[in-house]
Symmetry: C2
Subunit: 203 residues, 2 copies
DNA sequence: TCTAGACCATACGCAAGCGTATGGCAACCT
DNA sequence: AGGTTGCCATACGCTTGCGTATGGTCTAGA
């Protein structure tokens, strides 16, 4: 059936597949044997690459944390204007559906201790990043905290709403309106031009 | 060890215990045999009350939905002023820690279809309730929708933040300040008196 | 060609959980 | 007293997944 010339699997490929499963059907459905079947091999392969199931989870979490912090925040940090940084974050958060599902799936298994560690670290980084954005806009320390926490709460809640009850968020057009509404609420001095990809203000 | 005169268990008691487990350690840790051990009986008891594990889940979900919608929303609906209704909702949402954990644990297992049904229904009810509050304040239909979705997103996100990274939400005093901040952001025409339990405005 | 190592299959023992079958026991009715 | 019914214990077979042990194959290098 699979006539391709089997190139050997790497540990990263296993971790990647594990993240795939987590995003699809939750963390605790990550099992060695089904995963092996999915990859077209058997357990024998798995236990050559990993000591046990926990090691796979660890590798998957490390891969996730790397992608999540390094890529997302690093790209947003290029933007000079803090308002544009925020707008860009909101835009990208709306984008990658798969990343959102994966994030929620991980927090959904927060009773697992390794997951708890990593999720908390990622959250801290992101809230701190938001706080710095608001602080750079001249807000006081207390206000920056409040705004950062509120903004991240909105992010988390929107993720969950879109996953669990997508029909309450009307349609494409209204959603774009809603994004502007969020911008007005969360970014002091918001203008609609901030949400444009190029970020041109032509004032 | 348990010297009490064993009064027989009811199906509701099993469902209640199942919800307890879900709130503690997640949905998929609900297993018949451990649950029986926890209640001091064996499987024999369980399979007298329920046909199978799925029936237990169903009963637990029904019990949860009843409590969640009937009790919470019905009490809030007594408040006449829509602004006070909203403030009361926010206050109570902050309160019951256990209910929040349970809610998140259920949404964390949303890939389970029965759970998906019930969670979606509860979400719809709540968002609709919020929307009516905003509409009663004179907002347009579109604005009421946007506000309702935003408010519910903040609710969900705050729940998750408090569970997964409680240290980012500073302390008791600052949190009360933060609650007022949320009130100002989410309730047009907010005054601090709205958050008082008695709701007195003494204007 | 011989060998070592990378990669994987197969087969086994073990534990946990589901569901069933059946028996026990107390309360209550008649 | 005998029978019925509600509630539970015990014992069994089955499945799934974990981890181990061991052997096979393919390739690169000496």
């Amino acid at each position: 059936m699979q006539g391709n010339t089997r190139q050997p699997l790497t540990a990263d490929a296993w971790a990647e597949a594990a993240l795939e499963i987590i995003a699809e059907s939750g963390f605790d459905t990550v099992a060695v044997e089904p995963l092996a079947r999915r990859l077209g091999v058997t357990k024998g392969s798995f236990y050559w690459h990993f000591a046990n199931r926990q090691a796979l989870v660890q590798a998957a979490l490390e891969q996730w944390e790397r992608r999540e912090t390094d890529e997302v925040l690093a790209r947003a940090a290029q933007e000079r204007d803090p308002r544009k940084r925020l707008a860009r974050l909101f835009r990208e958060a709306d984008g990658s559906r798969r990343a959102g599902r994966l994030y929620l799936a991980l927090t959904g298994a927060i009773e697992n201790h390794p997951i708890q560690i990593v999720v908390r670290r990622v959250m801290d980084h992101r809230v701190e990043f938001l706080r710095e954005c608001y602080a750079a806009m001249g807000l006081s320390a207390g206000e920056a905290w409040q705004r950062a926490i509120l903004a991240y709460s909105v992010f988390l809640g929107t993720l969950q709403l879109r996953r669990d009850a997508p029909e309450v968020i009307p349609a494409e057009d209204e959603f774009h309106e809603y994004m502007h509404f969020i911008g007005e609420m969360l970014i002091p001095g918001y203008t609609r031009e901030l949400m444009r990809a190029d970020g041109s203000t032509n004032s």
